[in-house]
C-alpha cells in the first residue's frame, strides 16, 4: 500500500466523494472557470477596442493636422495698376501684358503699406510676406480685364507659407527668435496687418485647382487627381473586362486539366505577390522592353491592371459560383447554347457581385503607391496632365512627395490630401456596399 504510486489527486478524489465538501469544491471551481471565461471575453473585447482606438488615433491625427489646409492666409494689398509699369506703350497686346513686371507692383504696394521700412535687408524680408505666386495672380487679373490698368484696387493675395503657419498658430511666438522661422520684425508687420484688417484666412481654392509646386501656398492636388483619374480609367477599362472574361472561362468553360489547374494556382499566388514586384515588372517590361514613356498614366494603369486582375478574377468567380444551376438548366431547357445561357442569364445575375469586387479592387489600386514609384510617377510635375502619355503623378504618390518635403506647411497639405484620398476611397467602398445591398440576390 505504501509503495502504490500517487497521482496527486487522491486527496481531491476523497474530498469530492464527501458530499459536504463536494458542493463547495465544485462551486469554487466553477467560479474560477467563470472568472476565466469573463477574462477571455474581456480580452476579446479589448482587442476589438484597441483596434478601433488605433483607427480613431489615425483619423484624428490626420484630420487634426489637415483641416487647416483648407484655409489659406491672404493679405490685402492696395495695388496700383500703373500704366507705366505694366504697359508703357499702351498697346494692350496680350504678350506685352503677360510679360510685365507684376512682382514689382506687389513690392511697391508693400513698401507703401509699410513706409517705415527702409533698410535693404528689412525690405527684402518684407517682400517675402507675400507669396511669389502673387505676381501670377495679378497677371491673371490684368489679362482677364485689361481695363483695370491705370486704376488702384484692393487685391487679396496669398501670403507666404511661413506667414500662413504663423496665422494658423503652428509657429510658437514664445520660442526664442533664433529658433523660429518667422522673426520678430515679420511678426510686427503681421500684427499691424491684423490690426488693419488686411490679413485673413480664406477658403483655399488653390489647393483644389492647381498642380504641384515648390511653394506650399501655391501647391494643389488637382494635377495628381487628374493623373489618378487617367490611371484609374486605364485600369478600369482593362482589368474589369479581362477579369470577368477570365473568371467566366475558368468557371464555366475550362476543361478540368493540368493547364487550368496551373492558371488557378497562379491567380491565387499572384494575388499575394507584393505590389512592388509588379512595379519591377512594369519597369523591366513596359519601360525598358516596350519603350513606353516614363511617368505616363498609361503605364501606371497597365501595372495596376496586372496587380488588380487577380482580385477581380477571384471575386468574379465567387459571384459566378453563387448563381444557382437551376438558372443554367432553365436556359438549356429552352434550347440556349452554353454561351447563350451564360451571356444572357448567368452573367447579368452575377454582374452586381462582380462589380462590387471590381470596385474594391480599384479602390485598392487607387491607394497604391509602391509600384508607381518604380515606373517614375514620382517626378515633380507642375502641369496638369492632358492625356494618357503625359507625365503625371497620382494622389498617393503626391502624398508621399509632400510627406518628404521639409516645409511645415506641407504637413497640413499632406494630411489634407490624405483626407481627400480617403474621402474618395470611402465613396467608392460605400458605392460597392450600396451596389451589393441593392442588386445582389441571395439565392
Amino acid at each position: 500500500m505504501t509503495n502504490a504510486p500517487t497521482f496527486g489527486c487522491e486527496k481531491w478524489i476523497l474530498n469530492i466523494m464527501n458530499p459536504k465538501l463536494r458542493k463547495n469544491i465544485i462551486a469554487a471551481r466553477l467560479k474560477k472557470r467563470y472568472v476565466k471565461e469573463r477574462a477571455f471575453r474581456f480580452m476579446g473585447l479589448a482587442a476589438v477596442f484597441s483596434a478601433l482606438i488605433m483607427l480613431a488615433i489615425l483619423f484624428s491625427s490626420i484630420i487634426g493636422n489637415g483641416y487647416s489646409a483648407f484655409q489659406q492666409t491672404f493679405v490685402r494689398l492696395e495695388i496700383v495698376f500703373d500704366k507705366n509699369g505694366i504697359d508703357p506703350k499702351g498697346e494692350g497686346l496680350r504678350e506685352a501684358l503677360s510679360r510685365a513686371n507684376y512682382g514689382g507692383l506687389v513690392k511697391k504696394s508693400l513698401s507703401k503699406a509699410f513706409p517705415d521700412v527702409k533698410k535693404r535687408g528689412d525690405k527684402k524680408a518684407l517682400y517675402k510676406i507675400v507669396s511669389p505666386g502673387a505676381a501670377f495672380e495679378l497677371r491673371k487679373i490684368v489679362l482677364a480685364d485689361p481695363g483695370i490698368i491705370g486704376t488702384t484696387r484692393d487685391v487679396w493675395l496669398p501670403a507666404d507659407d511661413d506667414i500662413d503657419m504663423l496665422m494658423k498658430g503652428y509657429i510658437n511666438r514664445e520660442v526664442a527668435e533664433s529658433e523660429r522661422r518667422v522673426k520678430d520684425r515679420e511678426i510686427g508687420w503681421i500684427d499691424e496687418l491684423i490690426a488693419r484688417g488686411a490679413i485673413e484666412k480664406r477658403f483655399n481654392t488653390t489647393f483644389f485647382t492647381s498642380g504641384d509646386s515648390r511653394e506650399p501656398e501655391l501647391s494643389g492636388i488637382w494635377g495628381a487627381a487628374v493623373g489618378s483619374i487617367y490611371t484609374m480609367l486605364v485600369t478600369l477599362l482593362l482589368s474589369f473586362p479581362i477579369g470577368v472574361i477570365t473568371a467566366v472561362y475558368i468557371e464555366e468553360f475550362a476543361p478540368k486539366n493540368r493547364f487550368t489547374d496551373i492558371i488557378e494556382v497562379n491567380i491565387n499566388n499572384l494575388a499575394a505577390v507584393p505590389s512592388i514586384v509588379f512595379g519591377l515588372l512594369g519597369l523591366a517590361l513596359f519601360l525598358n522592353f516596350f519603350g513606353l514613356p516614363r511617368s505616363a498614366p498609361l503605364v501606371g494603369g497597365l501595372v495596376l491592371t496586372l496587380m488588380t486582375l487577380p482580385t477581380i478574377i477571384i471575386s468574379s468567380r465567387v459571384a459566378l459560383q453563387s448563381v444557382p444551376p437551376s438558372i443554367r438548366d432553365a436556359a438549356f431547357g429552352v434550347g440556349a447554347s452554353k454561351m447563350q445561357s451564360i451571356i444572357h442569364h448567368v452573367l447579368p445575375l452575377a454582374l452586381p457581385g462582380m462589380m462590387t469586387g471590381a470596385i474594391i479592387g480599384l479602390s485598392r489600386a487607387l491607394g497604391e503607391t509602391a509600384p508607381l514609384l518604380m515606373i517614375g510617377m514620382v517626378a515633380f510635375i507642375v502641369d496638369i496632365p492632358g492625356g494618357f502619355f503625359d507625365p503625371a503623378t497620382v494622389l498617393p504618390v503626391q502624398i508621399y512627395l509632400w510627406a518628404d518635403s521639409p516645409e511645415r506647411a506641407f504637413v497640413e497639405r499632406t494630411s489634407a490630401a490624405i483626407m481627400v484620398l480617403l474621402a474618395f476611397l470611402i465613396l467608392m467602398n460605400g458605392f460597392a456596399v450600396w451596389l451589393r445591398n441593392r442588386f445582389e440576390i441571395r439565392w
Binding site: 467563470y34 476565466k36 477571455f40 471575453r41 480580452m43 476579446g44 473585447l45 479589448a46 482587442a47 476589438v48 484597441s50 483596434a51 478601433l52 488605433m54 483607427l55 489615425l58 491625427s61 490626420i62 493636422n65 472574361i245 477570365t246 472561362y249 475558368i250 475550362a254 492558371i263 497562379n266 499566388n269 499575394a272 505577390v273 507584393p274 505590389s275 512592388i276 514586384v277 519591377l280 515588372l281 523591366a284 525598358n288 516596350f290 496586372l306 486582375l309 478574377i313 454561351m339 479602390s363 487607387l366 491607394g367 503607391t369 509602391a370 514609384l373 518604380m374 514620382v378 504618390v397 502624398i399 508621399y400 510627406a403 518628404d404 494630411s415 490624405i418 484620398l421 476611397l425 456596399v433
Partner: protein, 460 residues
C-alpha cells in the same frame, strides 16, 4: 490622334459589316428567320469578325514595330561615320531624332544631318500611316466580301462565333500566367546580370550593405558592398514587431467577433475594422513618420532610452495595425469553417465558451490560423510604403527594435527612384532584391495556400 482615327475607322467598318451580314442573311431566306441555322445577329457577328480581327491584328503589329523599323531605315540613310558610332552614341542620336520628329525645337548644336533625318523620319512615318490605312482597308474589305459570300442559310455561324469567343476567353485567362512568367523572367534576367558583377555568395551571405559604388577609384565611403543579410535581418525585425501587434489583436478580435459579439455589435464594428484594411499604405507611412515614431522617441527619452527616429519598433507597430484586419478576417473565415457539431459536443460536456474556443475551436482551426499568419507575414515582408516613409536607410545589423533598420523593399525603392543608369550594379541590385522578395513571399504563400486547401477539405 491618328491611332484614335484608325481605331474609330476599324470600328465603323466592323459595325457596317455586322449590319451587312445580318441583312444579307435575312435577305437570303426572304425574312423567314426559321430557315436560318442561327439567329440573324450571329451572321452579323460572323461577318464583323472576318472584318475586324485581321484589321486589329495588322494595326496592332504595326503599332508595335513601326518606331523601330522606321528608325532603322532612317539610320541606314545617315552618313557612314554616324553609323559607325558606338551603340551608346547611336542611341543618343536616335533619341535626338525621335525628339525632333515629335516636335521639339532644334537647338543650334543640332547638326543638319540630324534635322534632315528627323524630317525623313516624319516623312517615312506619314507614308507608313498611309500604307497602314490602305492595307487595313483592303484587309477589311476582303474579309467583308469573303464572309458575305460564305453566308448561306445552313452556315453554322453561331457555333463558329461561339468557338472563336471561347478561344478569346482562353487567351484572356492566360494573361495571369503571362504576368507571372513576366515577373519571373524580368526579375531573373536582371538578377543574372547583377550576379555577373557580384557573386551570388557575396550577395546572399554578405554582412554589409552599402550600394554606393565608387565612381572614381579610391573614392571614400563608396565601398559598394552588396550583402543582403542586414536587409533580411531588418525585414525580419520589423515583421516580427508587426506580428507581435497584429496576431494577438487580430486573433482575439476575430474570436470575439465570431463567437461572442451580438449581431448588432458586429454589424457596426466589423465594417469599421475593415476600414483599417482599406486605408492606403502611404497613409500609414505618413502616420508612422509623423505621429508614432516621434511619440516613441519622446517616451523613450523620458525613460532614458535612446530611440532612433526611424526605429523598427515604430514602423513595426504601424505595420501591425495595418495587418490586424488581414489576420482577423482570415481567422474569421477559418473559425467559421469549423463545424458547429464540434462546438455542440464541447458544450454538451459542460465546457464554458472560452474553454470550447481554446481547447476545441483553436485546436481544430490551428492549421488555418497558422496559414493566415504565414500570409500576414508575407504581407509584412512585401509592405513598402510604411517602411520607405518611416524606416531608416542605413543597413544596421541589429536585433534591437529601438534602432533604425532598413528592409529589402526600402532598398529597392531607393535604388530605383531617381536618376539611374540601367546597367549599373546599383540598379541591377534592386532586381536581385526583387527576386529575393518574390521567392520569399512565394514560398510563404504556396505553403499557406496549400495548408488552407488541405484544411478546407478536412471539414467539407
Amino acid at each position: 490622334m491618328l491611332n484614335l482615327a484608325l481605331i474609330a475607322f476599324i470600328i465603323t467598318v466592323t459595325s457596317l459589316g455586322f449590319y451587312l451580314g445580318r441583312s444579307r442573311s435575312l435577305k437570303l431566306v426572304e425574312g423567314r428567320v426559321r430557315e436560318l441555322h442561327s439567329m440573324p445577329g450571329y451572321y452579323g457577328l460572323y461577318v464583323a469578325m472576318w472584318c475586324g480581327i485581321p484589321a486589329l491584328v495588322i494595326s496592332g503589329l504595326w503599332l508595335v514595330f513601326d518606331q523601330t523599323v522606321i528608325m532603322k531605315l532612317v539610320l541606314a540613310n545617315l552618313s557612314p561615320e554616324t553609323r559607325g558610332l558606338s551603340a551608346d552614341q547611336l542611341a543618343l542620336v536616335v533619341n535626338e531624332i525621335g525628339n525632333l520628329a515629335s516636335g521639339s525645337m532644334a537647338s543650334k548644336e543640332t547638326g543638319r544631318a540630324i534635322v534632315e533625318a528627323a524630317a525623313h523620319f516624319n516623312r517615312l512615318r506619314s507614308v507608313g500611316y498611309a500604307s497602314l490605312f490602305s492595307v487595313v482597308l483592303c484587309a477589311m474589305l476582303a474579309g467583308l466580301c469573303l464572309a458575305l459570300r460564305m453566308i448561306t442559310p445552313r452556315l453554322r455561324t453561331r457555333n463558329k462565333v461561339e468557338s472563336s469567343a471561347k478561344l478569346l476567353m482562353a487567351l484572356c485567362s492566360t494573361i495571369a500566367v503571362f504576368t507571372t512568367i513576366g515577373i519571373v523572367l524580368s526579375v531573373i534576367f536582371e538578377a543574372i546580370r547583377f550576379f555577373k558583377l557580384i557573386s551570388v555568395g557575396d550577395f546572399l551571405f554578405g554582412l554589409k550593405w552599402s550600394p554606393q559604388m565608387a565612381i572614381r577609384p579610391g573614392q571614400v565611403g563608396a565601398s559598394g558592398s552588396f550583402g543582403v543579410i542586414p536587409l533580411l535581418a531588418g525585414t525580419a525585425l520589423i515583421s516580427f514587431v508587426a506580428m507581435l501587434v497584429a496576431v494577438p489583436v487580430g486573433l482575439m478580435s476575430a474570436i470575439y467577433m465570431s463567437e461572442y459579439a451580438a449581431p448588432r455589435f458586429r454589424a457596426v464594428v466589423k465594417p469599421m475594422l475593415e476600414i483599417l484594411a482599406g486605408i492606403p499604405t502611404v497613409v500609414y507611412g505618413f502616420f508612422a513618420a509623423l505621429v508614432v515614431a516621434p511619440f516613441i522617441k519622446e517616451k523613450g527619452a523620458l525613460i532614458g532610452l535612446a530611440v532612433d527616429s526611424g526605429s523598427a519598433l515604430a514602423v513595426g507597430i504601424v505595420m501591425g495595425i495595418m495587418i490586424i484586419p488581414f489576420v482577423s478576417s482570415l481567422t474569421d473565415d477559418v473559425l467559421n469553417a469549423v463545424p458547429q457539431s464540434l462546438r455542440d459536443g464541447s458544450y454538451g460536456l459542460g465546457a464554458t465558451q472560452s474553454e470550447t474556443i481554446v481547447r476545441v475551436l483553436l485546436q481544430a482551426a490551428l492549421p488555418g490560423i497558422v496559414a493566415s499568419i504565414l500570409l500576414a507575414v508575407s504581407r509584412a515582408i512585401g509592405e513598402t510604403m510604411i517602411v520607405v516613409m518611416a524606416a531608416g536607410m542605413t543597413a544596421n545589423l541589429t536585433a534591437n527594435p529601438l534602432d533604425s533598420v532598413t528592409t529589402v523593399t526600402v532598398q529597392i525603392v531607393t535604388l530605383l527612384v531617381g536618376d539611374q543608369e540601367f546597367d549599373s550594379a546599383k540598379t541591377l541590385a534592386a532586381f536581385a532584391l526583387g527576386l529575393v522578395l518574390f521567392v520569399m513571399t512565394l514560398f510563404l504563400n504556396v505553403i499557406a495556400l496549400y495548408v488552407v486547401r488541405k484544411y478546407r477539405q478536412q471539414y467539407d
